[in-house]
Amino acid sequence: MTIQQTTASAAAEAVRELLRGHGAVAMAGAAAGNLVSQTAVTAGPVSPVVTMSAAADGTTPGTHASHGSAPVAPPSGMRVPPAAMAPRAKKRNSLLWPGIVVALAASLVLFGGKGGWISNFQYLQLSLVLVYAIAVLGLNLLTGFNGQISLGHGAFFALGAYTAAVLIDRYNVNYLLTLPVAAILCFVAGYLFGLPALRLEGHYLALATFALATAVPQILKYRHIEGLTGGVQGINLVKPDAPFGLPLSPDQWMYVIVLLMAVLMFWIGRNLLDSRPGRAIVAIRDQPLAAITMGIDTARFKATTFGISAVYVGLAGALHAIIFEYVSPDSFRFDLSVAILVGAVVGGIASLPGALIGGAFVQFIEKYADAATKQFTNLVQLPIELEPWTIYGILLIALIYVMPGGVAGGLATLIAKIKRKRSVS
């Protein structure tokens, strides 16, 4: 419960950004935030209704005087035109920056090929960043926005990966068709797991999901389904070629596919959060009891959120299997669940752009922490030998300490600070 609460409240900044519909903007970083806020100020909502309604329903001047007690209002209790006090425009003008980010990411495809700037291995790495970003986003929806903690999302990653691998390898299904199958399977699995898990709060839910994460690799090794899963050996796949004779390498082509999927899943995530069910999801996190009295069937919404979260992670798993060309039980150990959770917290647990940062963290920092520790030891010629994960640990502690709301939350706070300074001077 405590983890949940701290992460959720720490990410408040990011949540607020999101709920305003500016969420995806921050994807482009600090510069983006600044620009949007400028446009927002100029487009501030002007409401002639205020004065009209106040006059029409005959409120006493006292109603307005009570504004004076608010810290946001000027001290003297003097009346300020509401338009001047309205902090931000509600207008959703934030498609610009995500658009630019997507366009940049898409343009990377052009720099590959023979003698190109980006090697096939680098395309694979970029794809993995996006794959992990999708997974982290799935966990964000559950833990960050709905307040349910999961230490077992590696299980759904595995389910998605094996669904794709088994369908492609054993049944010759087209790789693209395995994605919706993995999504549906994972939704059902996530929903069913979410139903009994509803009775568990905080630590107990963490334990139940932990059990799931540890059980799944063992289940995959189970003797009687070896014909399907390949047992300990796992399944080898071959990356699909680009269709229509496109001059793209398989890695390049899969990067395109993964990018399209990432855009689709982020778009869906944003739509959801900015909708009736999305508000209900956040309401349940903030005040479960009040959410019920607003008419929200919390059990159904929590189970559905669990299912949707599993869809994200499962799709990430399926894409991972296809681009990595290999699945085995030991690729989906408990470490993976933790990696996704750490990525979510580092990026910003209740933030869409944070998921992208989290994905990069999972791919790069996790994978290279070991090498970085060795290089660091050699570089400064430390007399003692550091454990391989030392740098990773230090980095993580420092990050949580400096940016409790994750990188996305930290950037949002930073932008807010800069803006305040500007408005003062």
Partner: protein, 272 residues
């Protein structure tokens, strides 16, 4: 926008004279403790009814029975003539009852506007699948947006529209909660100690607001309150309970004169 707030008062299409809410000998036991003991009263449409009683009298227990957060051990609760005891708690908003909480239970990380939007949940339908792809939800979302903005303006909250609800001052938060409770257009509004934590001037504002809400939003109001002068001046009828039993019911003047009520509050024999 303003015009739609001011619905024409009067009939709401129910049987004239029939009570909106009937509490019928409701008893609630927690283990050996009897929190409510056979309490009965009716609320007529359009009234403001005050529910008073010393601390621990069972007022909030009764409220929680009405919102189905507690299950009465005995008795029945009828809303517009139908028992609500078979409905799950989340269905109560859809039945037409809105409520606020003693300690203000806002969704702190959401904006004021979004808080009010959540209040529209029970009168909207958009599901996960349609919302995920943004298909066929535009009209309803626009309606929710309009209703929420209308109520934000109605409760004089315009300057706070896009601010996070959590850090706002307590009196403002109370108004946000009231706006949220009104969003679904309830016919009965349950207010749990609306005056708690407010100063003198703010209570006066609240009094005007409760009346305004009743008159312009066409709701019947049941309020639990400690603040005697507020209850006595704003209520059409007052129900007094103590130790889980009803002491008196009637107009504010009648209840104020009731010997049992005086005894419960002052703890001495009343000599009239």
């Amino acid at each position: 926008m303003v015009a739609s707030v001011e619905k024409v008062g009067g009939s709401l299409g129910t049987v004239p004279g029939a009570p909106l809410l009937s509490v019928r000998s409701v008893t609630v036991r927690f283990g050996g403790i009897v929190a409510l003991n056979g309490v009965s009263f009716d609320i007529s449409e359009g009234h403001i009814v005050g529910l008073i009683g010393p601390n621990g009298a069972g007022k909030t227990t009764l409220f929680n029975c009405l919102s189905r957060l507690y299950q009465p051990t005995e008795g029945d609760i009828l809303y517009k003539g139908k028992s609500i005891l078979q409905s799950p708690p989340y269905a109560i908003a859809g039945v037409g009852m809105g409520r606020t909480f003693q300690n203000v239970a806002l969704f702190d990380n959401m904006s004021v506007l979004d808080n009010v939007k959540v209040g529209c949940h029970s009168v909207s339908q958009a599901g996960f699948l349609k919302s995920a792809f943004g298909v066929g939800v535009g009209a309803e979302e626009a309606r929710i947006e309009a209703r929420a903005r209308e109520l934000v303006a109605f409760m004089d909250l315009l300057p706070y529209t896009d601010m996070r609800a959590g850090p706002l001052p307590f009196p403002i938060r109370k108004r946000v909660e009231l706006a949220r409770a009104l969003a679904s257009g309830p016919s009965l509004l349950l207010l749990d100690e609306p005056a708690a934590g407010l100063n003198h001037a703010e209570v006066d504002v609240l009094k005007a607001q409760i009346r305004r809400v009743r008159d312009l939003q066409n709701v019947t109001v049941l309020l639990v309150e400690h603040h005697m002068s507020l209850v006595m001046s704003v209520s059409d009828r007052v129900v007094a309970i103590d130790f889980g039993k009803k002491l008196a019911e009637g107009t504010p003047a009648e209840v104020q004169r009731n010997a049992d009520v005086v005894r419960a509050y002052l703890g001495t024999e009343a000599h009239a």
